[in-house]
Symmetry: C2
Subunit: 452 residues, 2 copies
Amino acid sequence: MPAGRGVDEVLASVRDRLDPDSEERAALRATVDELVARTRAAVDSLGLSAEVEHVGSTARGTWVSGDRDIDVFVRFDTDLDRDALERAGLQVGNTILPDGQEEYAEHPYVHGEFDGFEVDLVPCYRVESATEIASAVDRTPFHNDYLDTRIDDDLAGEIRLLKGFLKGIGVYGSDLRTQGYSGYLTELLALVYGSFEAVLEAATGWQPPVVLDPEDHAERRFEDPLVVIDPTDPERNVAAVVNEANVARLIHNARAFLAEPDPEYFFPPARQPLPPEGVREEIRSRRTTPVAVRFDSPDLVDDQLYPQLHRSLDGLVRGLETEGFDVLRSETWADTTAVLFVELAVARLPAVERHGGPPVHVEAHAERFLEAYEDADVYGPFIDGDRYVVERERQTPRAIDFVEDRLLEVALGTHVETALANGDYQVLAGDSILELSEEFGEELAAYFDPTA
Amino acid sequence: MPAGRGVDEVLASVRDRLDPDSEERAALRATVDELVARTRAAVDSLGLSAEVEHVGSTARGTWVSGDRDIDVFVRFDTDLDRDALERAGLQVGNTILPDGQEEYAEHPYVHGEFDGFEVDLVPCYRVESATEIASAVDRTPFHNDYLDTRIDDDLAGEIRLLKGFLKGIGVYGSDLRTQGYSGYLTELLALVYGSFEAVLEAATGWQPPVVLDPEDHAERRFEDPLVVIDPTDPERNVAAVVNEANVARLIHNARAFLAEPDPEYFFPPARQPLPPEGVREEIRSRRTTPVAVRFDSPDLVDDQLYPQLHRSLDGLVRGLETEGFDVLRSETWADTTAVLFVELAVARLPAVERHGGPPVHVEAHAERFLEAYEDADVYGPFIDGDRYVVERERQTPRAIDFVEDRLLEVALGTHVETALANGDYQVLAGDSILELSEEFGEELAAYFDPTA
């Protein structure tokens, strides 16, 4: 182990960058006060009854310096019907954030800028307990209540460290692209274990499935690799979205950081995009056959887009493997365009493929098989073990032909399928692969230098 | 079904060619009488006591016209010790067949020509029952006794038909190259079912494992696909050597022949050797990569050689597949030289290969894996699911390099390994594959036109 800096020294320097200073805190406080007051006035002017509540990390003092997100929830009485709630929510939102955009979670809500902060103004129901909620957003105020009394200034600092660490290693965020750790989950982990270091120490020994139940009130079992029972809802796993790779990444990086603490875990240097020449060199040295499908990104929010892309990539990989093409690795990226990228072991397979038939002794199947190949231009039927075999012409010996001609045969995500159905996509292979470096240079850099 | 000839008509014409005529029978009879008389005299002159017995198909009238094999057994008293029996057996054999060769089954025996016939002169013990035998050959006289009383002229004709059929479809012979139906097994099948056609009718419905026990006295179970309990030994499967492909071939050809009887099943046209140009065309049209190892045939009898070659071929195929090379088909042939022939899907693989590591959460294994690849020139370690992965340099990206440089790493038959250990072999690929056509033109013709 090289004699690097100790954990305390590293964390002290990291805290300097993560903790908001008094000026930042004061600015936030002033903005929130103004925002809440205006929202209350807007609710009153509609003649409705609602509680207005500042929630989330800025409400709990657990935000990381530089974060500019303020969440304000408007909790309407439950006798308001859903349509009325949605209308009222948007009216209030549009009043406070006149340049904001309507967004959709389970309810519609308004997102916009206010005083230089990113504000979500979210309507929900004021229910008695988190188990009675009508939609997921109704739960947020309960999370806020639960944490508010339990997070003191010290723990808030530990939470910021953990957030910074999870961000730095790339696993922070419960969106369906990241499939990582939400803010609420991060806070619960720090609360359960007591400190940033204690979370990391614990993670080094995690044996998934890891089950944590802070209130010891779980009312069901989960199959997820990480289970953290919601203290406000005994039937919910707060960590349901965390995939097993992101559990493994936390375990790996916790061990690595504790063995050799370094601020780079929190603030990794930006990756340099890989230029076309670099992509060419990688492909040449790996001697693989990359093939990519590129198309305009479907007009979907990320939480819909990425599951669609992953499903489509899985379908493409399975399709290629069913044809006999080994896929070494595959990835999907999206920006203005979306890309399904597969790296194949070989560009082409033999002109013939082995096709196994039924056992010779199963007469009805045997008869059908023999009839099917009676006049066909195949090798055989011959016998291998107790079965018939033919070697028949392979439909698509070149991988690129499969991707070009048979892409729509594979199981694609519905929206991706629609986007591709009119042939509006390009298949890149050989030198044209290098074009990807313009839009996805950083992704390609990460692809060809993968880390844990 | 095309309106071809009926079974009866076809079998009548086939019988004409299979049944020895009276002249052939008389010639055989005369030769056997002379041979047995001389053998008795030779035994007497040694002052030993032994029964001399003509056994096998020529003794039972079940030989196929043109077969020239005469088996004479000399059954010594059991008080003769084994060395003395072997010495006496060879002495008698060499006296009768002065130009014969000593061969080795379980006892040594003498094989030679007599009057234009191929004669085996085999010493054995005269034991009371087949279950008391000291070696496999001691059993033969019991088989002879059992069948002698049960085979009349009609049944002998049916047996000749069945032999002719099994020969014609390539499954006759219990040697370890063919792994097919012995003469004794053929006779038992005809005896059990009653006629040639009845055997074929039965075979069309066989559901392996098929178990026949003519004397209903089995004293153990067998795992073989075809089990025929020896009427002279309740613990022996007469069909033990028949592999599942040869069971399947009989089923297939029985169905095919009965559906459309044709003398060609008995007398298939000779295959024309495939000339080098034909081999080239096949490879070009299949777009595969054949690679062959050629070496001088080890000096072994076929029953030792072929198991060795098959074991070596299996080892080579497994070795290539472990390296990531798909083997479409493989064969081994032997004559003056022996060949291990593999037909690969591709000639080369990427320069990198995926290497899966341990689950990240298994700390001791994880640590060892990370240490092993810490300073190595690999992609990663990165995380896939709950495991570490690296992509490392592939040791042998070209299949031919594997066969040339790493052949002795694979599990070869012992004698083959010895033969190759000094590097005394050639690896053929590309155009040099065509050289095989000179020695193995017929085998290559069959390889590229495989039938059931």
